[in-house]
């Protein structure tokens, strides 16, 4: 006979304000099997846990139910509590009377009644719980970082410095990501390349880091500690081991009209190219869409001139398969397309540009060698108007509902740099709000206004149109309650950012959950912000939400710390809630193996006694508990009910159903 103890938590007023916790504890006392029922202000506190431990010992409890917050919050806590008191940790069930009850109901009677049912349901389940032992699985001591921007670079360096091997998979021909495209960085105005390229070089030279550039993740199998990843190494038509990065091919290539994506398409590049001077690896790549040889079979000039003999037009995509213990996702972002924002005239006017394009126009390695010249006629713009929140904070469906977070700061940076370099330029900024939380951030913005005389206009632009070669920016000035039109030479749009579109595929491969804006979901918004709900998968940078460089780097290092913590272990405790077959009933029909996503089920021929001295050999299912992830797909496929799931057995769920339904 089970001896159940019930512990009802007030969670301060979070539960107690809408659920009569004393009444719940009192009512539950008369439940069959319950020998102890108590309520307390904070069960998760030291004192609360002490109360549980004492009750377990004094009343010889065989199972406990804690009526508290979601099991996703404190199930682990209370399992440890039980274990400390000598009770098997799996003899604990949580009744979620906070998230699923007190927080969503207002009527006290109604909420109390529901709480009682929820606790009864948990009691019904715990009575059928059985002590479980966690198994073990080995940890592969190597990490995969998907994405070679600053987030991926930082995470890889930190993990590698701790002595673990790391592979960076980058879909582009070089690592560096968006940060490599930036000119200066706020709030200290360091040159972006000056602080990024040393880190890129560190990656290349680190003996523990392997950079797989121009590569994409194709397939992910396995689970935390034991991921098996198939990586596609796209054909770059240049032998990475031979290319010396001399760039003679770039000079000789006759097909020079490809859009230079690194410069946001503001100038052209040859079909064979190295994306930028500091690229890592410093190896050329051929754009097959642009290369005359690859398209027509004629040309081959680069091959002729390549002293290293690195050009290989026959190269094909290849695949490598590697094992990893942990995966960091750092896939980054892109500015949104502006198709839905005709009012700003981006498509019609060359001199309406995005902020990322401005970065390239201001960069010494950019298309204008760092001299600010406007794209249409190459002249110095005298009046520049910035428009903030282009596509951000937009719930109309045209843009993104969230704040892109970085635009206020980079716009202040741009305005300041322009006023610094070209004091004769007039700079206006249309803003809705200026958001500058962060160390030295507001000071930075105020400097733009106070020291550099940037004209900030509270209001939004309704229309940008071209009149006699001038860009007319019509907007409101809400402070003066006026409508104004500014004749400008250049208009810069602080375009919203969104996750890099390839994230969807990555998320699906990793079964990492994704939100409505395509940002990856973290395990807990506050307490587990760098972990994906999928064990062993960690999130760094904008793939998880908009953030600037300092934040991205912090998050990447946090990821690395989590990864190091994981890889430092030789073995992981595995979830004991796995499928278990009852051989006596198994038909050996193979249906369960057909639905198992992990290949955890195999079949063995086993001899069974039939009575009367006779035996029979039958094919029966066998589950590898280290591989089984405990989803339960097999349990439903099995017609005979041979397969059951520990911790979520059919009988347990049935009795929960009964407890809920009985009025």
């Amino acid at each position: 006979m089970q001896r159940i103890g019930v512990f009802i938590c007030w969670c301060g007023s979070n539960i107690a304000a809408t659920v009569d916790v004393k009444k719940v504890a009192e009512t539950i006392k008369s439940e069959p099997g319950v020998v102890y029922s108590e309520n307390y202000q904070y069960m998760c506190s030291e004192n609360g846990q002490q109360l549980i431990k004492q009750a377990i010992k004094e009343h010889n409890l065989t199972g406990i139910v804690v009526g508290s917050c979601s099991p996703r919050m404190h199930e682990a806590t209370f399992r440890k509590t039980a274990e400390a008191a000598g009770l098997n940790p799996y003899m604990v069930e949580i009744a979620n009377i906070r998230e699923h009850c007190s927080w969503i109901h207002k009527d006290m009677d109604e909420a109390t009644e529901k709480a009682i049912v929820l606790v009864r349901t948990a009691i019904a389940k715990v009575k059928l719980n059985a002590p479980l032992q966690a198994g073990e699985s080995p940890v592969v001591k190597r990490a995969l970082v998907i994405g070679g921007g600053i987030a991926g670079i930082q995470a890889a360096l930190d993990i590698a410095d701790a002595g673990f091997e790391v592979d960076i998979v980058e879909k582009n021909a070089t690592i560096g990501g968006r940060m490599a495209q930036l000119d200066k960085t706020f709030p200290t105005l360091d040159c972006s390349a000056c602080i990024l390229t040393p880190k890129m070089v560190d990656c290349a030279q680190h003996e523990k880091i392997d950079i797989l550039s121009y590569s994409e993740v194709e397939e992910v199998k396995g689970f935390v500690g034991n991921f098996n990843v198939k990586i596609r190494r796209k054909a770059r038509y240049v032998d990475e081991t031979k290319c010396t990065g001399c760039k003679i091919c770039m000079e000789k290539c006759p097909s020079k009209k490809g859009l230079n994506t690194f410069n946001m398409g503001l100038n052209n590049r040859p079909a064979i190219h190295i994306p930028f001077a500091q690229a890592i690896p410093n190896v050329a790549v051929i754009d097959p869409e642009q290369c005359i040889k690859l398209k027509t079979g004629k040309c081959g000039i680069c091959q002729k001139f390549c002293g290293a003999g690195a050009i290989d037009y026959e190269q094909k995509d290849t695949f490598v398969e590697r094992e990893y213990g942990a995966i960091v996702v750092a896939t980054g972002f892109k500015p949104i397309a502006l198709d839905n924002f005709n009012e700003y005239g981006y498509a019609e006017n060359k001199d309406v540009i995005t902020s990322l394009e401005l970065e390239r126009l201001m960069n010494a390695a950019g298309p204008t060698d760092g001299v600010l010249l406007r794209p249409s006629d190459g002249k110095h713009p005298k009046v520049i108007t910035f428009i903030q929140c282009v596509g951000s904070r937009d719930t109309s469906g045209c843009g993104k509902p969230y704040c892109s977070k970085i635009c206020c700061m980079y716009t202040a940076k741009h305005a300041m740099l322009i006023r610094e370099k070209y004091p004769d330029t007039e700079v206006h900024v249309f803003y809705i709000d200026v958001r500058t939380p962060g160390k030295n951030y507001d000071e930075f913005y105020r400097r733009a206004v106070e020291q550099y005389g940037v004209d900030y206009i509270k209001g939004m632009v309704g229309k940008v149109y071209n009149e006699n070669g001038k860009l007319m920016v019509q907007g409101s000035n809400l402070i003066d309650n006026e409508q104004i039109t500014i004749e400008s030479d250049l208009v810069v749009l602080a375009t919203a950012i969104e996750p890099e579109p390839s994230i969807r595929k990555v998320a699906t491969l990793l079964t990492a959950s994704i939100d409505t804006n395509n940002f990856l979901t973290e395990s807990h918004a506050k307490l587990r912000p760098v972990e994906s709900p999928t064990a062993g998968v960690y999130l760094a940078g904008v793939c998880q939400g908009p953030k600037d460089i300092p934040e991205t780097v912090s998050q990447a290092s946090a990821c690395a710390a989590k990864v190091i913590g994981l890889l430092a272990k030789d073995k992981l405790k595995t979830n004991p809630c796995v499928a278990v077959p009852d051989e006596m009933m198994c038909n050996g029909c193979s249906q369960c193996a057909n639905v198992c996503a992990y290949g955890a089920i195999t079949y063995v021929d086993k001899e069974f006694r039939l009575g009367g001295g006779k035996t029979e050999i039958r094919r029966v299912a066998s589950v590898n508990p280290a591989v089984c992830q405990g989803c339960g797909a097999c349990t439903v496929t099995c017609p005979s009910g041979t397969m059951d799931l520990k911790g979520f057995s059919s009988k347990q769920i049935m009795s929960e159903v009964e407890a809920i339904c009985k009025k």
Partner: protein, 326 residues
């Protein structure tokens, strides 16, 4: 038909005498002409009772679950529709294929004694089939009947003359073409209102006496231990306590065989209460065909079933009503 029977008997004798097989599974004479029963023959002497006539509707494949595990080879006579069940059982590793010798036999459609009796004929002594018509001899004389009217329910929706598996065949005459009408009755029910359907099934299922004949005869319902006999399943029930459990039993049974049921029709054939149980299984088959593409269980002896496979663009359950998608 007599010539087929003779040929079968002759072949059975050969196989047993030569020791090629240890036993032959076929039909033996019953008390009357119209009630032959499945039987296993291990000696030539036993074959004295061997029979194959218009009343040999029983599907023999299920007997192989036990027989194929015994010492020596087993020969079995399979009608075209029985061969689907055979394949399904091989697919599920219930039959050791190497231990079986399949003799594909001719079938001209099997007869329903109840339907003959309903025509006012009793004490049937012999039946002579002649194409579309049947001459029934009884103690009281001879009557000519239209064969289509006295076919077994399952034969009225015949799956056709193709055996899905065979090691040899005894086919002496042309066999009938398939009759593609098996979803007609299901569609009729679907066209009713919910209330009408509920009333229909209430009336049918309340006749159920839980004799388990449907379960025992069904080649798909061949679990080592049935969930209804297993206390750990949470749905153990040996008898119908109330109205709900009649439904529960039949719903779960139908779900368990969904994607595996070959529509052999044995459940309805053996039901002593004449409940049209095949209409339950055919609903699943119709929905599977409609929602996930045509699928006939037992057509092959390998591969996945519709319920153990999926596509990324499958219809959403909330929109799947009527099985009309795709």
């Amino acid at each position: 038909m007599k010539d087929v029977e003779l040929k079968m008997l002759e072949r059975a004798k050969q196989l047993l005498e030569s020791g090629e097989v240890a036993r032959v599974i076929g039909w033996k004479k019953g008390e009357f002409y119209f009630d032959p029963a499945p039987a296993s023959f291990e000696t030539v002497e036993e074959l004295g009772d061997f029979v194959y006539n218009g009343f040999c509707g029983a599907n023999l494949s299920k007997y192989l679950i036990q027989a194929s595990k015994k010492e020596g080879k087993t020969a079995i006579f399979l009608k075209p529709c029985d061969s689907y069940s055979f394949n399904q059982l091989v697919k599920e590793h219930r039959i050791v294929r190497e231990n079986i010798h399949v003799i594909a036999i001719e079938c001209q459609g099997k007869l329903d004694i109840e339907k003959i009796k309903a025509q006012g004929i009793s004490a049937v002594t012999e039946v002579e089939e002649e194409g579309e018509s049947v001459t029934v001899s009884s103690l009281y004389g001879e009557t000519k009947l239209n064969k289509a009217e006295i076919l077994l329910g399952k034969c009225a929706s015949c799956k056709g003359k193709t055996h899905q598996v065979k090691d040899e065949e005894i086919i002496l005459h042309e066999m009938p073409a398939p009759i593609n009408n098996r979803f007609d009755e299901v569609a009729k029910l679907e066209a009713m209102t919910e209330d009408e359907r509920f009333a229909f099934w209430r009336e049918q299922l309340q006749k159920c006496i839980r004799c388990n004949a449907c379960r025992n005869v069904c080649p798909a319902c061949s679990c080592v231990k049935c969930v209804f006999d297993n206390p750990a399943s949470g749905i153990e029930a040996k008898a119908n306590d109330d109205k709900f459990e009649e439904q529960l039993f039949h719903i779960i049974r139908a779900f368990h065989v969904a994607g595996r049921c070959t529509d052999c029709g044995e459940c309805s054939r053996v039901c002593p209460q004449n409940i049209p149980l095949h209409l339950l299984n055919r609903k699943f088959i119709k929905d599977i065909d409609g929602l996930y593409g045509e699928f006939q269980a037992g057509e092959t002896d390998n591969g996945k079933t519709p319920l153990t496979s999926y596509t990324e663009s499958d219809v959403e359950p909330n929109n799947a009503l009527g099985g009309e998608a795709k």
